[in-house]
């Protein structure tokens, strides 16, 4: 089973990270899922692949009633992001899934009906969660061509999807980045190979530099907080991406 860690809380407004499953088979990439709650409403961010559904479900159930989830945010179309969609919908068929317009006819192959999907335009949009505004931040081509981060201005949390991801060795299970230089070695290869556009990366760095961020939460690996957030953005800005070898 996965563990849940509340990384932000102010009354009913919470960010819960659902991370690290010691029972997960190694052939499946490790993922982080996040739950945002506000005023009794809940949104699940990048709910994960179908095979890890039981682990995510049980962890989430310990914090929140899965039938009360009103929305899912899918940063992009990958199977590790949302191939569990059909299973979550069993608990609440009215649940909505926010996803880039680019993928709104692709993701239904994982489940859902025409009513399930709310398309996010390229420039992004605001999502309201019982009065809390969550801003979808464009991160196209990083790595997916239709890709969004999710920013919570109040909690100062940026969910960054595959940006900031690190493929950590099994013995490194810290929730937060503790030693940036050591950590970033596990992120370098991933960013070079998965991220496709230096231009898109430049624009993303400019865009998120303007946001007030306490925590940058990727879908794989550890969470950057405090000064490590800016450190990561500068590191990424300097990195050459779209490289197949080297």
């Amino acid at each position: 089973m996965k563990i849940t860690e509340t990384i932000f809380q102010d009354g009913t407004h919470k960010w819960v990270a659902i991370v690290r499953d010691p029972d997960k088979p190694n052939f499946l990439i490790d993922t982080n899922e996040y739950l945002v709650t506000h005023g009794g409403a809940g949104m699940l961010i990048d709910p994960g692949g179908a095979e890890i559904f039981p682990a995510v479900f049980s962890a989430l159930s310990s914090e929140f009633d899965p039938s009360a989830l009103s929305a899912i945010f899918a940063s992009h179309q990958d199977p590790d992001i949302c191939s569990s969609l059909a299973l979550w919908l069993e608990f609440n068929p009215q649940m909505r899934c926010y996803v880039s317009w680019l993928w709104n006819s692709f993701i239904p192959h994982f489940g859902g009906t025409a009513e399930t999907f709310i398309s996010i335009p390229d420039e992004g949009m605001d999502i309201s969660l019982a009065g809390l505004t969550l801003r979808t931040v464009p991160a196209h081509y990083l790595h997916s061509s239709g890709n969004f981060n999710l920013y919570d201005k109040v909690a100062k949390v940026l969910f960054s999807g595959d940006v900031g991801a690190a493929l950590l060795p099994a013995d490194q299970s810290d929730l937060f980045v503790e030693n940036f230089d050591k950590h970033i070695r596990h992120a370098e290869g991933f960013h070079r190979r998965w991220m496709g556009s230096n231009e898109a990366k430049r624009r993303w760095c400019e865009r998120v530099s303007q946001l007030d961020i306490d925590m940058l939460c990727p879908q794989h690996g550890a969470i950057y907080r405090g000064a490590d957030v800016q450190r990561f953005i500068s590191w990424f800005d300097d990195l050459q991406v779209g490289v197949v070898k080297g």
Binding site: F53, P54, F57, P66, S67, S84, L87, E90
Partner: protein, 208 residues
């Protein structure tokens, strides 16, 4: 969910997987029969022309060729309905396979979170699984019956081909070409019969 239940769903999944393979093979065999019965149609047309040329010497043969032509058309119609049923089976087995995977994942969720909504959702899912399994069983029976009908029809085709062989002997100067044509008929009908025999014996119908 107990380990036994997990084992059951694994068993169900592999059975559905095997079913799908069997259906694919049945479908390939049916496609073969369809193309062979198309050949009969053309052969029957040629036989009709041949009988016309032979005139009074091959009246009986002409009548039989006409019958064989009707037979090949009937056989094709029959194969078309078999193909429709087979496609229905593929659809149901695919649903069953997907359901089995989801049931397994929901069962695991229910096992670790027995106090959540998971057990209730699992029960709903299982009821739906039963419904699809029922549909598949009914399609399987329909397919079995349609195959029996096809087999009966081919028996009739065999009789027609054998009679044509006998009639050919009375074809005087046309006896040799008529014998050749009726021999080919008989060969093809036998080929179809062998195909249908193997389809009837498919483990998809005979059990596991």
């Amino acid at each position: 969910m107990t380990t036994t239940a997990v084992a059951t769903s694994t068993r169900k999944a592999s059975r559905a997987g095997v079913d799908l393979l069997r259906i694919v093979r049945i479908n390939e065999e049916i496609k073969r029969v369809v193309s062979v019965s198309f050949k009969i149609n053309i052969m029957a047309l040629n036989a009709i022309f041949l009988a016309k040329r032979a005139g009074t010497a091959a009246l009986g043969f002409g009548v039989l060729s006409n019958e064989l032509r009707v037979f090949s058309q009937d056989l094709r119609n029959c194969m078309e309905s078999l193909t429709g049923l087979i496609h229905g089976c593929v659809g149901e087995v695919s649903i069953v396979l997907q359901d089995i995977r989801f049931t397994r994942l929901l069962s695991e969720a229910a096992l670790v979170s027995p106090n959540s909504a998971a057990p209730a959702i699992l029960a709903q899912r299982e009821a739906e699984n039963e419904m699809h399994a029922g549909k598949l069983a009914s399609l399987r029976n329909q397919l079995k019956r349609a195959l029996e009908d096809a087999f009966q029809m081919v028996e009739l085709g065999g009789v027609l081909a054998k009679s044509a062989k006998i009639e050919a002997a009375y074809g005087q100067s046309f006896a040799v070409p008529l014998a050749q044509v009726s021999g080919e008929f008989d060969g093809i009908v036998e080929e179809i019969r062998t195909s249908l025999e193997s389809l009837r014996r498919s483990a998809f119908f005979t059990g596991y």
